[in-house]
Symmetry: C4
Subunit: 286 residues, 4 copies
């Protein structure tokens, strides 16, 4: 029993610390402070793109390390504050945060790798998304819409691949930079899809193949059509789920019409019973 | 009592003047006249952009002062016509009108400031929006839609900021005009988003970083996706509020189905009572 | 009586001719033939844009006159086939057709006016719209959607006008071709709105006014927003009228829920009457 | 009877082979294998667009023939597996597959025809669409949406034709490459519709005809309007069919309100009968 007591006390002590961290990480002021640090780190990153005197540059390097340290402390608090440690890594956002913190701990001072180091620090701005709930919901709903787009994207890719291959076969000899191989052809086709100087590309090939405008115009129509289909698909999906939600709501708050019908039938049966008895009693009376 | 009478008479006299102004500003003809003056002032502004002989220019300057005076008189009438003076400045449109009138009273004849003076006069055309109720409603509904776009705009800004920083780190040495610092990089990215000669920007960086097309294509996809999300969000919002309005209307004009059910149950109870009594009376008879 | 008979016979005779024309113009084969002639006249117009030998050119001129004659005959048949002559010119399409036929009768052989003559013949292709009912419906629904767009169009124009004036005031000294006066400025802004080489325009003014990108970016945002608003307005309108139509349909084919309620209340009253009598009779019996 | 038995056995034997093929072609693993081969053939096509050493080129030629053979075997299996041979060619997808297989069997080694041969092999990638059911459904729904677009497309064509003819008449002398004849004019107008350097085209003609901007701006408005109309038409169509489907569903699962009404009226009649008898019996009693 003394052992039990000890264990309980230990749990209580643990609990206190955990609770403290838990309360801290749920604290609105703490969250705002973290957002503030992220914004500050974003500003530091932005500042680095300007020509800055060496002294300021020195300050920035130190600030950088402070921010890294702060993020390390913050993620540790959030981890220790989690009642069930396993659940912590079940959230993709926590894994994302931890990865960014760990990677930014790697010391990269090498001039060759300096750009990579900077790149990693830039991704710290993405923590803004993981810390603001509204943005997290936005991203989740975007990702949820993805699978529905899957087959249209596949169809689009097939269209690009076929046109890329045909374009490369026919036009590679005309302009090697635009149609050299299937990869570069697909990039050129993406450019045509965005209408970016697509006529320059077309007029060049029309000199040798006068009917090559059919290639471009049909490609534009096909991709525009597939794209339109994608948008309409999303809109319809959204309206459908909207309607379904409304229908469920209506059914929940109001009795079914079928219920009304069975109630009226029951009532009719009762009245019929009354009629039968009345008839019987009048027969008896006669 | 005599004091009361005096006060009442004073109020009556005030009222008369106020009523007169109030009637004037609600007058349809007066409103049309104000719209006419605004259109005329817009034409004067347009005329100033052409090469005009000095005499006409002189006429325009005088006209300008007449228009300013008219707007001053008009806003004074509307202010005096307001029964509760405090409410006047509760309307954002009144504040907007007053500001424009006051600012255009400032005499700017200095050649350095002439452009500023012209700018202020241009904004008088915006009074068209504040005087036509339909345009006011349009603007209000646009502003109401704003907060919903807030988080998508924030997400868009984060995307721009990250790509701007990355672009500036990697490409500043290639083209300083386009990628010199994070601000100019974001402007270049806005250009890429509008597909404006974006391939020229891309081909330049692809010479040094052959895989930089990934940077551009991924950026275009991300922004297109966020933009699409924004539009769909608005459409869904509109449809939802549409449905809610319709539902409220239906519930208002028609009794609830739950009401029907309770009425039928009450009826059943009455009929059951009849049956019970019938049974009793037949028992008594036997 | 004999006079009456004569009049009736006259009417009958008139009727016969009118009926004949009426039947002719409602004839599907006749309609198809007219469509065929319009297509043929369109082909003739297209052929004229190519270099053609003089002989063919001669043939085309003759064909042209035959087509003009045919259209004259056709419109005459349709006019004579109309039972109430006044109604004929109540249809905007008939006026449109008549105008095109009359104008193409004017002989323009003058070399200066030859282009005008060709232009008039081109508009004959528009008769395709007036003869195919589905296209007529399409155009009508487009025109019906117009008034709803009115205020957004006005707002758009105000935005264009203000930015045009500001652009002309500031940038006229930089590039007179693009910003010379308010009219040419508005055309340049339309170009910016379509994203057509808008950065070239911007970079030029940014050399003198480094913050002029604010002018372009804000303009693009405002017009994009107004445009978006317009599209959403149309979609919502369409959905609303869709819903209203469906609601009317539902109300027509199904009794109102309020009716059901009053019927149940009536039933309750009847049952209550039964209960009252039962009570009375049992009182009497006691 | 012995003959009957023989026939039955023959049918059984046939059936076994047919069943085997039928089971094979419905086999999920087999389908995946076919998809794998199609992807592999697509990769081979892509590889051909790169500079490849002669040895690899040799390997590719052999691989090509193996793929052709495999497709021949696969289509044969699917044909033999079909219980009713006639139904096989009722499916447009089967005809499509068979055509591609047959055409790719034609030996084209001629250098002149090599490009055609390559083209045919590229279309084998399209078999991806015919083998994946989801893509087949997507294409079907796209094709089903086509007829609705018919009249808008016709209207669009008329707009293009008229503007093409007018453009060719007026501007052919200014720029023969862009406005030479009606066909090339329509291609130029398509370019204007995609906003591709349309101002370059406009500024050129504005030098001779200062008001030709009206031609371009009106064309852009008309096509944008027709395009908008097309999109809205599709969306409305989709929402309508959505609503109709939901309505049918509701009517199916719930009794009609009219049914409820007739039931209540029947009930009222029964209660009225009760009242009448009660009255009669009370009269008798008196």
């Amino acid at each position: 029993m003394s052992f039990d007591l000890e264990k309980t006390m230990q749990a209580a002590r643990d609990n206190t610390l955990q609770n403290k961290f838990n309360r801290l990480r749920s604290n609105k002021a703490f969250e705002l402070f973290v957002v503030g640090i992220i914004v500050f780190s974003a500003l530091v990153i932005g500042a680095k793109t300007y020509d800055i005197p060496p002294l300021v540059s020195q300050v920035i390097v130190i600030t950088d390390w402070f921010i890294t340290l702060f993020f390390l402390v913050e993620i540790t608090i959030r981890f220790l504050g989690e009642p069930h440690k396993r659940n912590f890594f079940k959230s993709a956002w926590n894994i994302f945060d931890t990865l960014i913190v760990i990677v930014s701990l790697v010391p990269i001072e090498d001039s060759d790798m300096a750009l990579i180091g900077r790149l990693i620090r830039v991704f710290r701005v993405l923590r803004m998304v993981s810390i603001i709930p509204e943005l997290r919901i936005l991203i989740s709903s975007l990702l949820k819409a993805m699978p529905q787009l899957g087959y249209v994207a596949l169809l689009m890719f097939i269209i690009f691949y076929i046109y890329g291959a045909v374009g490369s076969f026919f036009f590679a000899s005309i302009n090697d930079v635009l149609w050299g191989d299937i990869a570069i052809s697909m990039l050129t086709l993406f450019r045509v899809m965005t209408f970016e100087d697509w006529t320059d590309v077309m007029y060049e090939t029309m000199e040798q193949y006068p009917f090559s405008w059919l290639f471009y115009v049909s490609f534009i129509f096909l991709t525009a059509f597939a794209f339109l289909n994608m948008i309409i698909g999303i809109v319809v999906n959204v309206i459908e789920s909207e309607n379904r939600a409304r229908q469920l709501e209506e059914e929940g708050e109001q009795p079914n019409r079928a219920d009304l019908e069975s109630q009226i039938q029951q009532l009719q049966a009762s009245v019929n019973e009354l009629l039968r008895r009345d008839q019987e009693s009048s027969k008896r009376e006669q």
